[in-house]
């Protein structure tokens, strides 16, 4: 059996006296699509943020492509080059145009020439269906467009794995679909991804596995069909009844 691309072992994380993660074990195989869900404060954002070293864990071990994230800044940098991340608040650089946003990291971090980076930027803007917005500034775009730019920006690094941290939570309802469509297309293309989301529709459509987190622990881990039809834990049932009732 192949090695998992992300391997999380017994990870603990405290914020002061609050324990955000309490012994997480999780493996993600190449090409696998994982959806992480759970009530707010359950530690799901912290978990994905640990996967590219934005948070440092207090105990346990995470390896990405066999690189240990605890191995110092060089290791973290190497991991980040192969892991793209999309944030809830987009975090586009507001002082740069869309194209500049996309080209910055490929030129500065991967050493691509400006021309190559621009070509790459065009390619991924087309992939998220907004090639015409290249010259605009982020704040001139709608929320949905901004998030799609953010996805394209992460893709421009041609990562092996994509992490999504509640990509649609900051969006107005009418813009959620355009972003979900892009994510679903990526999934269909075989990208390995870990996605924190409340969108159960997305989870049902694309996830190979749903991981349900509560109070910093994995309560349930199952394929969507099983997860939605026959949840084992009471906490999962409670959670599902709350978000699916209307």
């Amino acid at each position: 059996m192949a090695e998992p691309v992300i391997k999380v072992e017994q990870v603990h994380k405290w914020f002061g006296s609050h324990q955000a993660l309490a012994g997480i074990d999780l493996s993600v195989m190449a090409g696998e699509r994982i959806v992480v869900c759970g009530p707010s404060g359950s530690g799901k954002s912290t978990l994905v943020r640990c996967m590219n070293g934005l948070e440092t864990m207090n105990a346990g071990k995470i390896t990405v492509n066999q690189i240990d994230l605890a191995g110092g800044s060089a290791a973290v940098e190497q991991v980040r080059k192969s892991v793209g991340m999309v944030f809830q608040q987009f975090n586009l650089f507001p002082h740069l145009t869309v194209e500049e946003n996309l080209c910055l990291a490929p030129t500065r971090s991967l050493g691509l020439s400006q021309a190559n980076a621009q070509e790459r930027a065009r390619k991924y803007l087309e992939r998220v269906h907004i090639p015409e917005q290249a010259g605009k500034f982020p704040l001139q775009l709608s929320g949905g467009q901004q998030q799609r730019v953010a996805i394209a920006r992460a893709l421009c690094m041609e990562p092996q794995i994509m992490l999504f941290d509640e990509p649609t939570s900051a969006l107005d309802p009418e813009m959620i679909k355009e972003v979900l469509d892009v994510i679903a297309e990526l999934a269909a293309d075989g990208m390995t991804m870990v996605c924190v989301t409340h969108e159960m529709g997305l989870a049902r459509a694309m996830a190979d596995r749903i991981v349900f987190l509560d109070e910093g622990q994995i309560v349930e881990e199952a394929p969507p069909s099983e997860f939605f039809k026959a949840p084992k834990s009471d906490r999962t049932k409670q959670f599902l009844s709350r978000i699916l009732q209307h």
Partner: protein, 355 residues
């Protein structure tokens, strides 16, 4: 109505007093004094000036000296201030602490005291020309001032140079947009070559008891520039720190997630956004620095206040005209700086931030 009447009556009373006083003391009024002969010399001057020059010319000498000191100090203070402000975020604990101590020390000591310190305790206490501190054989520091090499340009060379500078500037502008750094470097080389073609460098050298060649910056000028720029740098460093801290955390996380190297993260993500907070505050510091340059009067560096509101006022006694002109000049400088920084703010610092 009553208020207006009182104000007018008061003004008439003051005006009457003033006329009486001027008449009693035999003080002339009007601006004709500007045309009369100065009768005094000025130690540092960017334009030709002698005792036979007019007082009006003395005014320009003073104003140019004020602008010279302010301009040099603004540049140095900005560089030093940004370096120290960014150093406060250094991963190196020692560097961060040194930067903090610098800021807290310099900004809590009166500027005038710092000027005195640099002038009387440091520069005037330096050894004479024969025991000068020698920096690489090009720069010499002694109690007569700071001797630096001077660029001497052949006749007509100035135009060539100006052309080269304009060309380089335009090309740089282009490069900046297209991000081609190599051709920029090429242009810099071209500029350097044209410089070599029309100019030669005169290096100061000790002959007998003093230096010849090069050019000398007077101890007053050096003390003033050091004090003004190091003092203002402390305030700029604080502003830079506030600006950097104002950049949302998410921006830094996004840069990290893209594995942008630390220095690029600072240069391309943090600083450009911090500028939005920094620039308006920086404007204030530039204004303060320019106004503070008037402390030159305390060490007799011939700036506008020292020459005009000092020497000229003593000679002519025309306080109202002289103080009026001096204040008007500073107001004009203030407004000009504020205006141009506003333009910079709109075009550069606020880029992309107003939709």
């Amino acid at each position: 109505m009553v208020a207006v009447a009182v104000v007018i009556a008061g003004a008439v009373w003051l005006f009457g007093n003033t006329l009486d006083n001027l008449a009693n003391r035999g003080i002339a009024s009007g601006f004709s004094f500007l045309k009369s002969t100065a009768g005094f010399g000025i130690s540092t001057s960017l334009i030709d000036f002698s005792e036979a020059s007019s007082i009006g010319r003395a005014f320009w000498v003073g104003l140019l000296n004020t602008l010279l000191v302010s301009a040099i100090s603004v540049v140095l203070a900005t560089i030093l201030g940004f370096a120290i402000g960014i150093a406060r975020f250094s991963k190196n604990w020692l560097l961060g602490r040194v930067a903090t101590v610098y800021v807290e020390t310099l900004r809590n000591i009166p500027l005038l005291l710092q000027i005195f310190f640099w002038y009387f305790a440091v520069l005037r206490a330096l050894p004479g020309p024969r025991q000068s501190y020698d920096l690489a054989g090009w720069f010499f520091l002694n109690n007569r001032g700071f001797y630096i090499p001077k660029l001497e340009i052949i006749d007509g060379g100035g135009w060539v140079l100006l052309g080269a500078v304009v060309m380089a500037f335009l090309a740089f502008w282009q490069c900046r947009h297209k991000g081609i750094s190599r051709s920029c470097a090429g242009l810099a080389v071209l500029l350097f070559i044209s410089l070599l073609a029309v100019g030669s460098v005169s290096v100061p050298a000790l002959t007998g008891f003093n230096f010849t060649g090069g050019t000398v910056l007077s101890p007053e000028l050096v003390a003033l520039v050091i004090a003004l720029s190091s003092y203002t740098a402390a305030f700029i460093a604080e502003i830079v720190r506030a600006g950097v801290q104002s950049v949302p955390r998410g921006q830094i996380e996004a840069a990290d997630a893209l594995s942008l190297p630390d220095k690029d993260r600072m240069r391309f993500v943090v600083i450009p956004q911090a500028l939005r907070v920094i620039v308006p505050l920086l404007t204030n510091q530039y204004l303060n620095l320019t106004k503070n340059s008037s402390l030159a009067a305390a060490i007799a560096f011939p700036d506008l206040v020292s020459v005009f509101a000092g020497t000229v006022l003593n000679i002519t006694g025309q306080a109202i005209e002289i103080i009026g002109i001096t204040m008007a000049v500073y107001l004009t400088i203030s407004l000009t700086i504020a205006f141009s920084m506003n333009i910079f703010n709109r075009t550069t610092a606020m880029r992309g931030l107003s939709s």
